[in-house]
Symmetry: C2
Subunit: 336 residues, 2 copies
């Protein structure tokens, strides 16, 4: 499951997640435009994975520059980072990874093997993410009881990260620890990451999962059918307010109303301590046709107006704990 992003013979390869689970197609990214397009168009998605792909994207972009002239300039690195920063606004891991890559550039800019060092930095970000996920999943598994039914939203699995996953990582670790776990997965409109990706990841590992529409979560919560909710995160503010896939806020309110614990599982690279509260997190508004059209099939009348905010913000008061690679953090949230 960690072969969905890799470097081979000077190019980045990413599994096109828009076609999963029906087609397994890899995109070869040899130019900055290829990488930026893969992020913007959601061939790759998931906050940690976006950061990893952007890190490799810096290497791709620098190599591309070297094909047109013999030396790289600091303005090249800046321009490449600017393009990658512009791909998606909400997931902070993107900016975090680009900052790491910029540090690597400044350290090795005079080194004849600058590209090799940049690639090494990207690989380290990638590997570190997988390791962090395994670590946070181990902590998170302690919150799960044998026999629990866990509700999750969107896909915070191996596919959303360097590997192993965050919310699904916690579920994997609980199962590995011998606990019997059932999952209820929301389909996650408009992009169906739950139906397409989470259901697929769980089926591959034989973890029993039931798919529901997003609107059914309240029903299952109100009937006592869910023991806890675990989701990933795209950006966590200093006070614990968490931006995540649209619909997460609703699940948190519904869990709160039904006294069901609500957990966020995310590496610390998702925390943006520069941002005090969730109201400062920019929310991406995507194209309306993701709402009005499914796989080329229209579901609304021609001319219908649609809105498509891709994320929402869950206030920290609804979050019981944030599960990180440094342990479980509880209210009042303090990440420093």
């Amino acid at each position: 499951m960690s072969d969905h992003v890799y470097w081979k013979e000077g190019s980045l390869y990413v599994l096109d997640q828009r076609l999963l689970p029906f087609k397994t197609t890899y995109l070869k990214c040899s130019t900055l435009k290829d990488v930026a397009g893969a992020i913007t168009d959601m061939a790759v998605r998931g906050a940690p994975l976006i950061g990893i792909v952007a890190a490799y994207g810096v290497v791709v972009g620098m190599q591309e520059k070297l094909r047109s002239r013999p030396h790289l300039k600091e303005s090249d690195a800046e321009k490449i980072c600017r393009v990658l920063k512009g791909t998606r606004p909400t997931a902070v891991n993107l900016f975090w990874a680009l900052k790491k890559m910029r540090e690597a550039y400044l350290k090795f800019k005079a080194d004849p093997d600058l590209i090799g060092h940049l690639l090494q930095a990207a690989v380290e970000i990638h590997q570190q993410d997988t390791e962090n996920n395994k670590r946070l999943s181990g902590y998170g598994a302690e919150l799960i009881d044998d026999g629990d039914t866990i509700l999750t939203h969107c896909n915070a699995g191996a596919l959303a990260t360097g590997g192993y996953g965050t919310a699904l990582g916690v579920i994997r670790a609980a199962v590995k620890a011998g606990k019997s776990i059932r999952v209820i997965a929301t389909e996650t409109r408009p992009y169906f990451q739950g139906a397409r990706l989470t259901a697929w990841e769980l089926m591959q590992e034989h973890i029993p999962a039931t798919l529901i529409t997003d609107s059914m979560a309240g029903y299952f919560l109100s009937r006592g059918r869910i023991n806890c909710v675990i989701v990933g995160a795209d950006r966590i503010a200093a006070n614990g307010d968490t931006a995540n896939k649209i619909g997460t806020y609703s699940l948190a309110v519904l869990a709160h109303e039904n006294a069901v614990p609500f957990y966020v599982a995310a590496p610390l690279s998702t925390v943006d301590t520069k941002i005090e509260s969730g109201s400062d997190i920019p929310i991406e508004e995507r194209k309306p046709d993701e709402v009005t059209t499914i796989a080329g099939h229209r579901i609304a009348p021609d001319g219908a107006v649609a809105a498509n905010p891709a994320f929402d913000v869950t206030p920290h008061r609804y979050i019981h704990a944030i599960i990180t690679e440094k342990g479980i953090i509880r209210k009042p949230y303090n990440f420093t």
Copy 2:
């Protein structure tokens, strides 16, 4: 908009709502099986409309019997009602309309024009529903302020009723009273009644509407973008607990959490005073492939397990008022 169900030359014609707004196809129902199938398979849907179609279905069924033998028996009426009662379990208007038709049968069973009297009873149920909707919509419009943005779920419009609609009827009446109204319509998975039917009804009347996925409602409520929520109902218990399309409960909780009024608009035929509270309302579980497949296109891996409860129950404590043809009823709910 009231030509979606009519009687012509001895047959019932219903607009096939599964194909709307893309195709306008009428189903001719000449047998009991035709009518029962149209209800079960959701060619017609919406609690009041189900009742109306079932009423006409009694006429269709009795006529069908008369084609095989010259006289009708009480057991014929009973058998026909039993088949129609078995079509869908949650909407109480179905049982209410069949009770009315049974009363008409008992009154006119010795009359040579029994069929004519039964047809007259069905037409009266149909016309009365439209009149009740107009009346309740007038009351409901008083709850709406000029400039309001109203969130609605599923389709509680003309198409869901004999005509004019309940939740959409209130919106229509407010617009007719000169108020400037905007609507936010949830798409309503799994069947997309919001995207297909509500968006279409509102566009036809030039009422500005924005379509969202069900998961986005919390986002708009939390940002102060919605002034009130109005939905229809499939069955209201004596204490005001309301069964309605799956996802309604979530909207009610989210409205409550954000101090936004939540209204139910429904004719009194939707009230089931025999049922004390919502926990006694049977919830229909439909086939999982309505969740895993959209217009023949799979959205989940082969073998994925899905749940498909079609309704949920909103406890009365979340409901600010129930808008009926006899006026606006407020807590504590008392329908007698």
